[in-house]
């Protein structure tokens, strides 16, 4: 069961490597989010109903996440970031849940969760951490931002720097690990189920359970990713007391 992803050199340049699977799944994720949100928000009314209620619930949800970390005056700048992160990670996690497309020969994977690729999750994490630095400088000024590395005591400077890299790594790896594990076990269960009629019957119930768990993990990881983004952001933009 050695699945592999199709990696090509774009325009034949060796350092411009492109993972076709990722391109497909990322595009699908973006399109799904855009279409769903776009058509859900066509009739925005003073008295909301149906789709608008759902989107407003989402906004309120992210708003609560932000409010639990920082003052709303500062936090309102990040609400779109929070919503987009939540939606992107959630949809990306859900993408590999119902099915996975593999073609023979060569076991090429065409459809899976993009978040089960470590580069993509680390990209998201790095983007988040860089954004926290950007907003830290922007909102507090370069001087205050630099001073933060020496608080509360100067000898913490190395740890503070390590923390930034650790944050990036853990944020990305946590998401990747959860979704990857979900996919691996899913593939194993499906592989077992398709190997014989008896195994198919026996592995059906565990498969359903695992998919439900995958749903849970996917939602939870999206929430955690969004929450941690706001936690890191608040570390950078909040005034020290």
């Amino acid at each position: 069961m050695e699945h592999q992803e199709l990696v090509i050199d774009l325009f034949g340049i060796s350092w411009l490597k492109m993972n076709v699977t990722n391109m497909i799944t990322v595009t699908a994720t973006l399109l799904i989010i855009f279409l769903v949100c776009f058509f859900m928000s066509r009739t925005v009314k003073m008295y909301p109903k149906g789709a608008q209620n759902a989107l407003e619930f989402l906004v309120q949800f992210v708003r609560n996440i932000i409010s639990s970390n920082m003052a709303w005056e500062k936090g309102k700048n990040f609400i779109m970031l929070g919503i987009t992160i939540l939606l992107y990670v959630f949809v990306a996690n859900m993408l590999g849940l119902p099915f996975e497309i593999v073609t023979e020969p060569g076991h090429y994977v065409w459809w899976k969760s993009p978040t089960s690729n470590v580069y993509l999750t680390l990209t998201l994490a790095a983007m988040v951490v860089l954004l926290t630095h950007y907003y830290g400088v922007k909102m507090k000024g370069p001087k205050e931002y630099a001073k933060d590395y020496f608080r509360p005591v100067p000898f913490l400077l190395p740890f503070k720097i390590i923390e930034e890299f650790a944050n990036t790594l853990t944020l990305g790896m946590r998401l990747f690990g959860n979704v990857f594990a979900k996919e691996v076990l899913m593939i194993m269960l499906v592989g077992l189920g398709t190997s014989g009629v008896l195994w198919g019957i026996l592995s059906f119930a565990p498969l359903v359970v695992w998919q439900a768990f995958g749903l849970f993990i996917g939602s939870l990881q999206a929430f955690i990713f969004c929450m941690l983004t706001m936690v890191y952001m608040s570390h950078k933009v909040n005034e020290e007391h």
Binding site: L16, N19, L30, Q52, V59, I79, M80, P114
Partner: protein, 163 residues
């Protein structure tokens, strides 16, 4: 698990994420958040308006209560006045009637006295004329007892006739 580093889809994801964020902001969540803010303001306004209305109506009720109290007092006063008026009228009427009755009584008494006087004077006149008559009779005839008796009887008869 760790394939070659695929920079193109990393960049593609970043760009896609940024574009998605902007598009969602412009077409989906921007209008919704605007509407939410508008609704919040609307609700706050409604609440303050309701509060104001409540205060106004409370004030109005208080005013009404005062007005009712005043009206009640006024009504009481009017009734009181009417009662006093009636009492006064009653007293007047009573006094009038008493006065009138007194006057009638006085008049009657006066009339009675006058009548009495008249009668007395008339009687006096009669008596004097009778005396004269009797004296005349006595003088006319010197009569015996029998004659005298007869004379008296006659005289009395005459008196009875004249009176």
């Amino acid at each position: 698990m760790l394939g070659p580093f695929t920079i193109v889809d990393v960049l593609f994801q970043l760009a896609g994420f940024a574009v998605l964020l902007l598009i969602l902001k412009k077409y989906a969540f921007g209008p919704i958040m605007d509407m939410m803010e508008k609704r919040e303001n609307h609700i706050a306004e409604q609440i303050s308006t309701a509060e104001k209305n409540r205060q106004e109506s409370e004030k109005y009720i208080e005013e009404q209560r005062e007005a009712i109290k005043a009206a009640r007092a006024e009504a009481k006063e009017i009734v009181e006045n009417a009662r006093k008026q009636a009492e006064r009228t009653e007293k007047d009427i009573m006094a009038n009637a008493e006065k009138q009755a007194e006057r009638k009584l006085q008049e009657a008494l006066a009339t009675i006295k006058q009548e009495e006087e008249q009668a007395i004077s008339a009687l006096r006149e009669q008596v004097s004329s009778l005396s004269v008559l009797v004296a005349t009779k006595v003088i006319e005839k010197e009569l015996d007892d029998k004659e005298q008796e007869k004379l008296i009887q006659e005289t009395l008869k005459e008196v009875g006739q004249t009176v």
